[in-house]
Amino acid sequence: MKAVNHLLLIFFGALLIYASLGLPNRGDSEAVMHREKSPAGSPGASSYYIRNAYKDAQTPNMVTVILADYRGYDTLGEETVILTAGLICYLILRRNGTSSRRREETGEEGADAQI
C-alpha cells in the first residue's frame, strides 16, 4: 500500500511538472494575459491598470491602487478572514470565564489547573 502511495505521489508530481512546461515565459508579451486585447476582443485588465492607476487615484504605487481600490472587495475579505481567525482563536483557546472566576473565588488549586 505504501508503494502505491509513493507511486501516486511521483506520478502526480511528474504530471504537475509536465503541466508547468505549458505555462508562458515570465514577461512574455505575447502571452494571452499580457496582450492589449483579450481573445474575445475586449481590452485587457492589466494594460488598463498600468495606464490609468495614477490618473484614477493619484498614487504612484500601482500595486496599492489595485489592492485597495480596484480590488477593494478582495482586501476587505482578506481582513475579515484575519478577524475570523482571531475570533476563533479567542473562542477555542480562552479559558471559560465562569470556571476561572470560580477558581479564583474559592482559591483552590484544582486538579484541572495542572492540565
Binding site: 481600490d69 477593494g72 476587505l76 475579515t80 484575519i82 478577524l83 481567525a85 482571531g86 483557546l93 479559558r95
Partner: protein, 146 residues
Amino acid sequence: MLKYKYNPIILMVSRVVSPFIMLFALYVIFHGHYSPGGGFQGGTLLAASLLLIRLAAGSEIAQLQFRSVLGTPLGSLGVLIYFGAGFTALLFGGQFLNYGFLPVAGLTAAELRSLGILMVEIGVGLAVMAILVAIYDDLLEGYQDD
C-alpha cells in the same frame, strides 16, 4: 511549563529595538502609496514590536503597553474602519468602496481615492496588529497558572 526568566540584557535590547520597529512599521503603512508596503506588512511589524516586549518583559508587565483585553475590539475596529470607508461612499451616492464619493470638501475624485486608500490601509494595519497580538495572548492563556 513556560516559565518567564528575567534577563536584563534581553530586556534592555528589546526596549531599545522595539520603538524603531514600531517607527518603521508606521513608515511602511503610511508610505505604502509610494513604495512597497501597506497595511498587512506594517501591521505585522507593529505586532512584532509589541510581541518583542511581551517575550522579553513577560506578559504581565507588557499589559502596561498593550492590554490583552484590547486585542479583539481593536481588530474589529480595524475592519469597521475599512467597512465604514466603503459604506460612507455608498451613503453619499457612489458604489460600495468607491472612495471618489467620500464626503471631504475641496478634493478632486482622484485625491479622494488616495485618501480612501490611506484610510483602508490604516484599518488593515490596526486589525492585523491587534489580531496577531490577540492570538499570541490566547495561546499563552492556558499556561498562566503553571
